[in-house]
Amino acid sequence: MTSYALFLGCTIPARQPHYEISARKSLAELGIELIDLAGMTCCGPAPVQSIDLETSLSVAAYNITLAEEAGLNIVTLCTGCFESLAMTNTMLKKNKLLKEKVNRILSNAGREFKGNVEVRHYMQVLINDVGLHQLKKCVSKSLAGLKVASFSGCHALRPSGLLKLDDPERPHIFDDLIEALGAKSVWYRNKLKCCGGLLRGYADDVALAIAREKIVNTTKASADCIATLCPFCFLTLDMGQILMKSAYHEEHSMPILHYSELLSLSLGMNPRELALDFHKIKVDKVLDKLGYVQSVSTTT
């Protein structure tokens, strides 16, 4: 049984219980123990780094020290959290002066960054701790026939020098994971391009335009759904389609599903248990294609 300290971040508990539930359930099913630690705060992502870099590093380091204290590696569900924590972890491990600087700040809260744990995204956990082979064996309901447009988001891949998760130009891990469930990962134009999520709140029109391109390209490629790894991307693409209705007078209905939701379905879980009604764009089409009989768009 491999154990990890689960890092949830802000967006998932605040907005996306469906992500959390599917992740918890599927990882548990695959033999990964997720431990909730008290005290975890925001990870110190891009919005905080934009205000002050030292703050974002210190906040991220603070959260890492909680895991260090518990003797656990960290797993994140959000690639934004992954980028913030993994980048900080690597930078502080490599740069002694920087580590000392951050530790001086952390000492105000009685904490010290030691640099003895790893930060992982759950995608890495699936590949390294579970393995594609084992994963395939655990699939009880194959997603064969489903055409999935994979979208890992920027911060799973870049900056590649610090994250070292996958090849930034020819990534394949996410596609391998999707195909391990029996689905097909389809090509679509500008697959690796950003969703524009971080511009929401400052320039909503620009963010929406960028998100729209993704919806249009995946629709053109005849994808049944988009698979995401990040709650920000999810929000931008899912809620975004509702906004596109009023902004562009366009009807889009591209279901957006987190990988963990697809994973949960393939492991045989009942869609009712997955809080799928929190999706703004209904996922009925996907469930129909996969042969689920009842509609799950109403909460029980």
Binding site: D167, E169, R170, R189
Partner: protein, 806 residues
Amino acid sequence: MDELKVGVFLSTCGNQLSKILDFDALMDFAKKIRSVVIVAKSSEYWRGEGLRTITETIRAGKINRVVVAESLPKLSEVNIVQAIEDAGLNPSLVEILDLKDHCAIPHKSTPSEAVAKAKAMILAAVEHVKLLEPVEKAEFYAVKSVLVIGGGIAGMQAAEDLADLGFAVNLVEKASFLGGLAARAGRFFPTDDCAICIQSPSSDVKTITHTSRKCVYRSGFTEIPNMKIYTNSRVTKVDGVPGNYKVTIEKKPRYVNEAKCVQCDLCTAVCPVEVPDEYNAKLNKRKAIYINVPSVYPPAYVIDDAACKFYDCAKCVQICPTGAVELNQQPEKIRINVGGIIVATGFQEYDPYVIKEYHYGDYPDVITNLQLARMIDSFGPTKGAVIRPSTKEPAKRIVMVQCVGSRDRRWNPWCSSICCMISLKHAILIKTAQPDIDITICYIDVRTTGREHEYYYEKARDLGIKFVKGRPTEILHDPEVNMLVVDVEDAILGKLLEIEADLVVLAPSLVPAEGARELSKILGIELDDDGFFKEYNAKLRPTETKMRGIFLSGGATFPKDAPTTSLHAHSAALKVSKFLSTGKIVKDKRIAIVKEEYCGDCEFCPVTCPYGAISLVQKDDEHFVAQVSDILCEGCGVCVGTCPVNAIELVNSRPDQMLVQMNALMSVKGTSKPLILAICCSECGHAAVDSCGMAMMEYPANVRVMKVPCTGILQVHQILEAFKVGAEGVMVVGCKTDGCHYEVGSEKAKRKVELTKILLREYGIEPERLEMINLVYIEGDKFAEAAKTMTEKLEKLGPLQLMKSL
């Protein structure tokens, strides 16, 4: 031993120095020094009457050691020493000092202090010359034979020159045919000459008797006197010394007898094997038995032994009308003896596959400049047609991308120099032949620096070729219409473009040829940080490497165009010719000598010697000692500074010889200021003191200068000795650490100075009394500044308190 008889000759430089220095006092002082038998002064001693006085005195047997005070010794000593040698005295038994730029001029405001320093300098020179040993010249045999590695333009040109000059030339080429990269270029810019001519060497004799000086087309197949050509061959081992290298060449079999092959081409028709054709940059396939173009050298087919099925097939053997195919040929090992080596291995295109965003290798319609050159070449696989590899249809919309992997810190940070011209050449050739083809060139900068190169750029624009200043981020492919899309910003407009193309041509970085690193190890020469062979100094010593018998020619040092390569090749041939023409290499035996009884086989000196001149040899009782190669030793003394047990010494730079100078320089005070010893290397250090005086800068006369070959010769205890004999401060003055004329000496001296400072502190002596100064020749001001600063510092610190333990 003969009694020492020292003659001291002081030049007054046309009486100018006598205005500052009291020459009578100096001469009186000199007369009193033991072993000095003659003291004289004159206006000049480096030529004319003065020089004759010296040589006559020698011939008359009156003196056997000479001390001359003359101006600009680094220049004047050549004449003086030559004359002395002609007069019959060993030229090493001479010491020349500079009372002008090292004494009178910089200290002219303090004449009495200057005189005191002059006395110290004369005393040091006399005491030093008394300890000097005669140094003989050594002659090393030089074979008048040359090895040229690489059969492209550079190799062939240099080989041709040397063969014409009468040297025995061995030209070794790793490919099966001569010609190198240039032969595949199609045409040469900026004249658009055909490149295919560069397939075989020619002799100048022929071009003088024929009228065609421009074309070399018809000159290749005769035997060139003095030249042996080995194709399909590599150099695998090089032993020996400059002038006498023992080289091993390994020749792969051609499996075709060159004397019998008539190039009928029947064999390729029956050969069942097809492999990608590297000659045509893999645009097409060739058979296992093949020839590149009809006019190659050697004029015979060759079998690719990795592809051939040999006796499982042997169809070519059966069909060959002259029985030229010999599948049982064996590899050969050839050993030759040469005096000099020229490396002409050229360069190659970087494989852009690694630059994944450009999708070279993923999309067949993304090609390189070399592939385009092969297409444009009418001898090439498409007979001159520029086509899309994916459809074989003619290309109509071409986009060229420059700097692919060049000027890129992630791959190759350098500018590859000729790719702008190559791409312009291709664009002009295509557009001239087919004006309706649309061509756009995406660039960061356009570099057209050579003669007439800019007119290429003009012509390209006149023809309507478009230029976008922007480096594409990615090349995309639209599968629905099978078109490529180049994603680029026009940085001048600030607009993002998506340029559609059916063919994209990348201009990849140009990198050293395959095998360069292994070859550098075999030859013992260095590569620079970019992986090219390191030229010793491109301005002062072009084509030379650090190893005296090994030279470089052509693109092996850095990508070059054909005219520059040709120039470089001629230069290399000239250099080698000068090196070997007399059949011997003459050298002063001013070298390092090992005192074997002390050598502890610690391996420090072989590892430190920048010239690889020291090796370890096994003695009878099986222990190892260091041994110095007479011919390779450059006389720097860095080994001496490295040896922990003083088991190695440099001729005429022994510790006792240095100590006697230090003593003498400190013995005549004549000033209330604290005495400083400046130990200067004979290159930048001592030269900076010269330039200081030449520029009429002043500094205090308490600074006394002693010259050493390289600051790397210094041992920690020698620096401490200086303090013991009266120096209150010591300056070690050497070249900049990244510019040491002996590579590592300055760096090592710096380290030693740091260690000595630690020891000084332990001894209770202020470590600021010791400094290292790194400068170049023209930084005389830096030397003057340092002298003044240290004097002030020492005055503040007060007199040196030496502990009894020291």
